[in-house]
């Protein structure tokens, strides 16, 4: 299935999308907030493609879950649905300057340091990390300023990467290690707001349920493994956690058939998948913190996928429901959950996926020097989430409940 793509002209440094707002950091440091739904509605397409358009850009959740299984199992319905996505991919989805201008809610001065290293939106707060620390400001505001005019200092710890979940901000702080900043309001949270989780160098932090994976160029990568506290009275889990152990990627991948055959270029982990990229393959381990405490119960080898000529260096990598994204010096490689490859040549200014969002999990934002590309991947609705090797798995109902409290 062809990937859908919206092109927005302009010179940007970063983007975020959340609850119907598209935030763009222009290269001069201003923040432009757009009404995302209005922008999508402004694109003219035949009425019969509205469902595909809705799922592709406004509500990526729509076609996931068990409720559609009977329809997907019906070959006729399935083919009609696939054709709608295919036909939509043939439509021009570019945004003209006048369309863009009509959807601007506000262009405002940037209340954060700029150029930053990373941003994250969690519980309607925008967190911006940079060399000088972390600042926060309220966002998604319907008032005159979608982002508060003033930002507040959270911490002065230098930030290379941020990732928020469960009211905790995971901070990749380079040679200072991996930190957690707990901004929950409970009494226990007030005591130890900032915790050093891993002392090893950290470039990138990502959540695997309530555990954390730290990626680095200077070590093999580490997982801070947590168990969720059992909820009382049969309630669904709410993200309460207890630290269990630290595992190096070398330990995690020790059972991999390819272990030791090729030097590691980069490791990363998101949600239920931990990946190790080498010169010719991505090895994949499935992480399951719900099964039990033994190594064998928590880590399962899923094999590997071929990685042809990833370039001299891997700059960074990430995972989404739709697949894996690997940045090399020459461009971005996307391997989707059907094992199809898409190569986006050229050095991006920035790029992002949104695996923890509710509506935009299928999007990949790639900023180039004169435009933003918003790709929408829609093949994953039809992939068995339990069996998939590439891309994180769509969470179970219990996990969804948990996210709805955490996001």
């Amino acid at each position: 299935m062809e990937t859908l793509k919206i092109i927005i002209p302009g010179e940007y440094y970063d983007s975020q999308i959340h609850s119907g707002y598209l935030y763009l950091w222009s290269i001069d440091g201003h923040i432009i907030t757009l009404d995302w739904n209005k922008l999508i509605e402004s694109i003219t397409i035949p009425d019969r493609l509205n469902l595909a358009m809705w799922c592709a850009f406004r509500e990526s959740e729509y076609l996931y879950g068990k409720r559609w299984k009977p329809i997907f199992n019906d070959r006729e319905f399935f083919e009609v649905l696939i054709k709608k996505f295919e036909d939509l991919s043939k439509q021009a989805l570019d945004i003209s300057p006048s369309q863009f201008n009509k959807c601007i809610i506000k262009e405002q001065s940037n209340p954060f340091p700029f150029p930053h290293s990373d941003t994250n939106i969690h519980w309607n707060k925008l967190y911006v990390g940079s060399r000088s620390g972390i600042r926060e400001a309220a966002c998604n505001l319907s008032s005159q300023y979608p982002i508060s005019k003033k930002s507040k200092v959270v911490s002065d710890i230098p930030v290379l990467g941020l990732s928020a979940a469960n009211q905790i901000l995971a901070i990749a702080a380079g040679d200072e290690g991996l930190f957690e900043y707990n901004f929950g309001s409970g009494e226990a949270n007030q005591e130890n707001k900032l915790t050093l989780r891993l002392k090893e160098h950290s470039n990138l932090a990502r959540w695997l349920y309530t555990s954390l994976f730290s990626s680095s160029y200077f070590n093999e990568g580490f997982l801070a493994d947590f168990i969720e506290k059992e909820p009382e009275n049969g309630d669904a889990p709410k993200g309460q956690r207890t630290f269990l152990n630290t595992f190096s990627a070398n330990q995690i991948f020790s059972q991999s058939a390819r272990n030791g055959k090729s030097p590691t270029l980069f490791t990363w982990g998101v949600q239920d998948k931990i990946c190790r990229a080498t010169r010719n393959a991505i090895e994949i381990i499935q992480y399951n913190p719900f099964k039990g405490l033994s190594f064998e119960q928590r880590f399962k080898t899923l094999g590997s996928v071929d990685l042809e000529n990833p370039g001299e260096n891997i700059v960074t990598a990430d995972s989404a429901l739709f697949g894996y994204i690997i940045e090399s010096d020459e461009g971005l490689l996307v391997i989707n959950s059907l094992l199809e490859r898409m190569w986006l040549p050229g050095e991006p200014v920035n790029w992002r996926v949104f695996p923890k969002s509710r509506f935009y999990t299928n999007q990949l934002h790639v900023i180039y020097e004169d435009h933003l590309q918003i790709h929408s991947f829609n093949q994953d609705y039809f992939v068995d989430q339990k069996e998939k090797k590439v891309g994180i798995s769509y969470p179970t109902e219990v996990q969804r409940y948990q996210y709805s409290h955490a996001a």
Binding site: I27, H116, S117, S130, R131, A173, G174, N203, P348, E369
Partner: protein
């Protein structure tokens, strides 16, 4: 001839000291690969225009108008890399400055703060993609 730490007045009332340990293949220090004269030029361009709030000045070395490498990583690092950034300090607060090739990829304190990277982005010394990689400590080459 024995190495010495030459002190040269480079601006009115400002002395620049060439530190020998960044030129004598000390395995624990990054090493300049540009001449002493180019090192002073690098400082003169950096100071005071690229002075940050913590009183460090950040330098770049140019050839034909383009930023080029000025040093290499300390030899005790597992892999040798070329360095393009210099960090200068007046550690005794007596207007006597010295500097070294900085390694932003390895050390947080060698990543320039936003006030400096913002100037460099505006002046187009670096592409926006390079500023992103510099800010995130990501691996890249000039």
């Amino acid at each position: 001839m024995a190495e010495f730490e030459a002190e040269i007045e480079v601006q009115l009332g400002i002395i620049y000291i060439h530190k020998t340990d960044h030129r004598n293949i000390n395995p624990n220090k990054s090493q300049w690969t540009i001449t002493r004269e180019a090192e002073r030029e690098c400082f003169n361009k950096a100071h005071p225009d690229w002075l940050d709030q913590e009183n460090y000045s950040w330098g770049l070395h140019f050839e034909n108008g383009k930023v080029t490498y000025l040093g290499i990583t300390k030899s005790s690092e597992p892999s040798k890399r070329e360095l393009f950034l210099a960090k200068f300090e007046d550690s005794s607060k007596n207007h006597k400055w010295h500097g070294y090739p900085a390694d932003p990829f390895r050390h947080n304190q060698d990543i320039p703060p936003e006030i400096i990277t913002g100037i460099w982005l505006k002046e187009s010394f670096f592409k926006a993609a390079e500023i992103r990689k510099l800010s995130r400590g990501q691996l890249w080459k000039l």
